[in-house]
C-alpha cells in the first residue's frame, strides 16, 4: 500500500473544503464544506495509523472516531444556529449577517411581555 495516495486525496479534499467555506454564501453549504475538511482530517488520521508506529496500537483510528463524534455535535449545534438565523432574518446568506447589535428600536414589547422569571424550561 502506498500511503501517498490517501494522503494526497486528503490534502485535496481539505483544499476543497477551505475553498467551499470561503466561497459559499448559503450557511448550509458552508457547513457541508466544513464536513469535507473534517473528513480530510479523518483520512489523514486513519492513514497515519498505518504508516506511523505509535506506542498504543490503533491510536489514529480511535482519534478518527472521536473526530466523527465531534462532527456530529458540531453539526447539531450549527444547524440549530442556522435555523435560528433563518427564523430571525428569513435568509441564510452568511454575508448578510449583521455583526453588530441592532439598535434599541424594535423592542418595546419585550419589557411588557417578559414576566417574572419562572421556570426556564416552560
Amino acid at each position: 500500500m502506498r500511503p501517498v495516495i490517501p494522503y494526497v486525496t486528503a490534502a485535496l479534499l481539505f483544499g476543497l473544503g477551505v475553498y467551499g467555506v470561503l466561497r459559499r454564501r448559503n450557511a448550509v453549504l458552508v457547513l457541508m464544506a466544513v464536513e469535507l475538511m473534517l473528513n480530510a482530517v479523518n483520512l489523514i488520521l486513519v492513514t497515519a495509523d498505518t504508516t506511523v508506529r505509535s506506542v498504543l496500537p490503533h491510536s489514529g483510528q480511535v482519534f478518527a472516531l472521536f473526530v466523527i463524534v465531534l462532527a456530529a455535535a458540531e453539526i447539531g449545534v450549527g444547524l440549530a444556529i442556522v435555523l435560528q438565523l433563518y427564523r430571525l432574518r428569513a435568509s441564510v446568506a452568511v454575508d448578510e449577517v449583521p455583526l453588530t447589535e441592532p439598535a434599541e428600536s424594535p423592542r418595546p414589547a419585550v419589557a411588557a411581555s417578559a414576566g417574572p422569571d419562572r421556570e426556564a424550561g416552560r
Binding site: 500500500m1 481539505f14 473544503g17 483510528q61 453539526i75 433563518y86 423592542r107 411581555s113 414576566g115
Partner: protein
C-alpha cells in the same frame, strides 16, 4: 501497484470529484447528495486501509445522520428547487486560499512520503478498537459523552424560541405553537 493501490486511487478520485461538485454545484439538494457520494467513497478508503469500525461508523453517522440533518436544514430554510444563482460570492480569494492550502499540503505530503510502500497493519476491528478505547482512552471518551450532552442541550436551547432570546418577543409569543404570554417571556 497492487490491488489496494488501484482501489485507493479509484476511491480517492471519486471522493475528490464529488467534493468538487459539492463546492461548485448550483443545486442545494444536489450538493447534499454529492456529499453522500464523497463520504461513501471515503468509507471505502477506510475499509481498504483496514479501519473497519471507522468505516462502518462513518456510514452510520455521516452518511446516515449528518447528511440527513443537512438535507433537513436545506428544506427547512425553504431552499428553492432547481438551480439558484445566489449561492456563491465572487471568489478569487477563496480559490487562491483553498488552492494554496490544498496544493501546499499535497506538495508537503508527496515530498514526505514519495512513492514508498507500507505494509498494511492488522485491521481495526470493533474488538481491538474497543479494547483501546476502554483501556487507554477512557477519559477522552467520557469527556466526549459530556460534550455530546452539552451540545444536545445547546441545540435545544438555541432552537426553542421562548428561551433566552429577547429580540422580537411580541410576535414570537403570537406564533402558532408558541407559549402564552405569562410564562413565555425571556428566561
Amino acid at each position: 501497484m497492487t490491488g489496494a493501490d488501484l482501489l485507493l486511487i479509484a476511491l480517492g478520485a471519486v471522493a475528490v470529484g464529488s467534493g468538487v461538485l459539492v463546492v461548485t454545484t448550483k443545486h442545494l439538494v444536489r450538493a447534499g447528495l454529492y456529499l453522500v457520494v464523497c463520504l461513501g467513497a471515503l468509507a471505502g478508503d477506510y475499509l481498504v486501509l483496514g479501519a473497519e469500525l471507522v468505516a462502518w461508523v462513518q456510514v452510520l453517522i455521516y452518511v446516515g445522520a449528518v447528511v440527513v440533518l443537512l438535507l433537513f436544514a436545506v428544506m427547512l430554510t425553504r431552499a428553492p428547487i432547481g438551480a439558484s444563482d445566489d449561492l456563491d460570492r465572487p471568489g478569487w480569494p477563496a480559490a487562491l486560499i483553498g488552492g494554496g492550502a490544498g496544493l501546499g499540503l499535497t506538495v508537503l505530503l508527496v515530498d514526505a512520503y514519495r512513492w514508498s510502500t507500507v505494509a498494511l497493519a492488522e485491521a481495526g476491528t470493533a474488538e481491538r478498537l474497543g479494547e483501546q478505547i476502554f483501556r487507554s482512552w477512557v477519559l477522552p471518551f467520557e469527556v466526549l459523552s459530556v460534550l455530546l450532552l452539552s451540545a444536545l442541550v445547546g441545540a435545544v436551547v438555541l432552537s426553542r424560541p421562548d428561551i433566552g432570546r429577547p429580540a422580537p418577543a411580541a410576535d414570537r409569543t403570537a406564533a402558532p405553537g408558541g407559549v402564552d404570554v405569562e410564562t413565555g417571556g425571556r428566561r
